[in-house]
Chain length 153, copies 2
């Protein structure tokens, strides 16, 4: 369904282009496993503690949503020459929940070829991580170092 994504080489990009990645489903176990390793706060680990918290139920760490977003982007093949982050702005309007089916909608926002290094440029890609029913879990403006074809990272 989302299989027509071209690799993101500098040569191919046009401002305004949008790509949808494939989807993945997030389980309760995934949420607890990530939180146990990287963000062991009660509302990411335990149903009862989460129910009594601001989140009113088990919520994934925002950094988990960020990591899953990266996985969806890499698997999509968007990063033809490697996706090297040069600055990120991340926001989590709503938390990822057990059972969520997520995909990423990536829109090319700006393209700035390097003046000193003609094989590369900086591209800003607006990446919205959405549930299948349209809830925005993460809003990311990713500044990426992107290469021309035949000059991958």
């Amino acid at each position: 369904m989302h299989s027509e994504i071209p690799p993101l080489f500098l040569d191919d990009l046009v401002v305004g282009q949008t790509y949808d990645t494939d989807e993945l489903q997030v389980t309760r176990d995934d949420i607890i496993e990530f939180a146990t390793k990287y963000d062991p706060q009660p509302f990411h680990l335990d149903d009862a503690a989460a129910a009594a918290s601001l989140f009113r139920g088990l919520a994934a760490s925002g950094w988990h949503t960020a990591a899953l977003t990266m996985r969806l982007l890499v698997d999509s093949g968007i990063f033809g020459g490697g996706g090297v982050g040069a600055g990120m702005q991340v926001n989590w309007p709503t938390p990822t929940r057990p059972g969520d089916i997520l995909f990423v909608r990536a829109t090319v926002a700006t393209i700035t070829p390097s003046r000193s290094k003609p094989d590369r440029g900086i591209v800003e890609v607006h990446c919205e991580t959405l549930t299948r029913d349209g809830q925005l879990r993460q809003d990311l403006m990713a500044k990426l170092l992107v290469f021309r074809k035949h000059s991958a990272a």
Copy 2:
């Protein structure tokens, strides 16, 4: 050595305060495990591919550095009432490498009490993730929802 960190409740914070977390060491296996799950690009997975890349050697995913930073912050006890992210700006000036010993230096940048909800406020915390020998691996400006004492998330 870094054991005197008070919990980060709104009541206790003063702009300019700085806290250092404890340290953790990152192994080659940690880097490959995270990348396999969340960022399976060759320069995060394979020594030979990484040596031939921009990174000139195995480099952790930036999102891995972000996740480890969160772990250090949570373990430090800084987030007394829960650390709920309300917007992040992340930059990775240099990649995390196998063997790195990381800690986070957190500095309170701004404090904005909520006008409508007196039990909480937004605090901007500048979090520098550093190696023991002073190399900056991640620069994070974290906007956090922080609660007053006795009103935790």
